[in-house]
């Protein structure tokens, strides 16, 4: 089991993710610079939070064209597991691996707080460590996390059980209170909250630990 963590110019949660996967879970982890193309030997890829390419144009819009992400798209095609956290979720929507878009928070504020979430794991491979309907607490830290998709597409996502994480208090005004989505195969998870910041009781609890630990199961 080896994990790759994508690093763009402007990523700022890459080392936090590695600390969680390698330090807390003991999973060998390597960084993948955005200009690389080699995913050999990786069992999963994590696209971390931050401000890839300065978030110029739109969050994730420029990252989408990075050489490493062309390989990540092919990796998903082959059934590889990919986790996009915060900016990583924005990148996954810009790539079209997950539908919809993340837009400016309803009340404009950058939100940095712990928030309660309801988990509906369904077929999502990353969430099998949680019970259906379980409430967990994870930190959020974003200015552009308001999920947006048209109502018919939201209904499709609901019907196919792809909405796997939902805000209980909907701090950013997302449609359907969507905090995290999976793909029909259950291999890709995009979420605005930061599970890597909740992997140690000393720094924000353990509710994110099971998400990353699903890699070991």
């Amino acid at each position: 089991m080896t994990i790759g963590v994508v690093v763009f110019p402007g990523s700022n949660c890459d080392r936090d993710v590695r600390w969680a996967t390698e330090g807390c879970l003991g999973v060998p982890t390597r960084f993948l610079w955005h200009e690389e193309r080699d995913l050999t030997g990786l069992d999963a890829v994590i696209i971390p939070g931050g401000f890839s390419y300065g978030d110029y144009l739109r969050c994730g819009a420029i990252a989408r064209f990075a050489p490493i992400l062309q390989e990540v798209a092919a990796f998903v095609e082959r059934g590889g597991r990919v986790l996009g956290i915060c900016n990583g979720f924005q990148v996954l929507t810009e790539m079209g691996l997950l539908p919809g878009a993340l837009t400016r928070n309803e009340k404009l504020h950058f939100l940095c707080e712990d928030t309660p979430l309801q988990v509906s794991p369904g077929h999502c491979q990353w969430l099998q460590g949680y019970g259906d309907g379980e409430t967990i607490r994870l930190p959020i830290a974003h200015g552009e996390g308001r999920y947006q998709v048209d109502p018919s597409q939201l209904q499709q996502l609901e019907d196919s059980r792809c909405v796997v994480l939902r805000y209980q208090a909907n701090p950013n005004g997302s449609v359907g209170a969507v905090a995290g989505l999976t793909n029909p195969a259950g291999t890709v998870l995009g979420l605005m909250p930061h599970p890597e910041r909740a992997c140690d009781p000393a720094t924000g609890g353990l509710d994110g630990h099971r998400l990353l630990a699903s890699l070991l199961g």
Partner: protein
């Protein structure tokens, strides 16, 4: 090869909330400018492109607008295109996405 100048206007789709536009509208009212019923913020991208002809330029810029400059999930775009030296959008049809 001829050079064309273009402007791509990117705006949020009408169904998408624009909280920054709403905040700016409130500020307009505090400034004392009354009567603004709608204020939506978009982007204007100015470009110059070398292309064999106007149609090719339009085709390339349409691809660029659709795939990079705008995200069709939340945004619409319009293209104003003219041969250099001509006014934008007056002598050429306007593309829309």
């Amino acid at each position: 090869m001829p050079v064309y100048s273009a402007r791509v206007l990117v705006s949020l789709r009408p169904s998408v909330l624009d909280p920054a536009g709403e905040a700016t509208r409130s500020a307009a009212s505090r400034l004392g400018v009354e009567g603004i019923a709608k204020l939506r913020i978009g982007k204007a991208v100015e470009l110059e492109i070398e292309a064999p002809d106007l149609d090719t330029a339009r085709e390339r810029l349409s691809l660029l607008s659709d795939r990079l400059l705008a995200n069709p999930v939340i945004e619409n775009w319009t293209l104003e295109l003219a041969a250099n030296g001509q006014a934008h959008g007056t002598s050429s049809p306007v593309g829309e996405g």
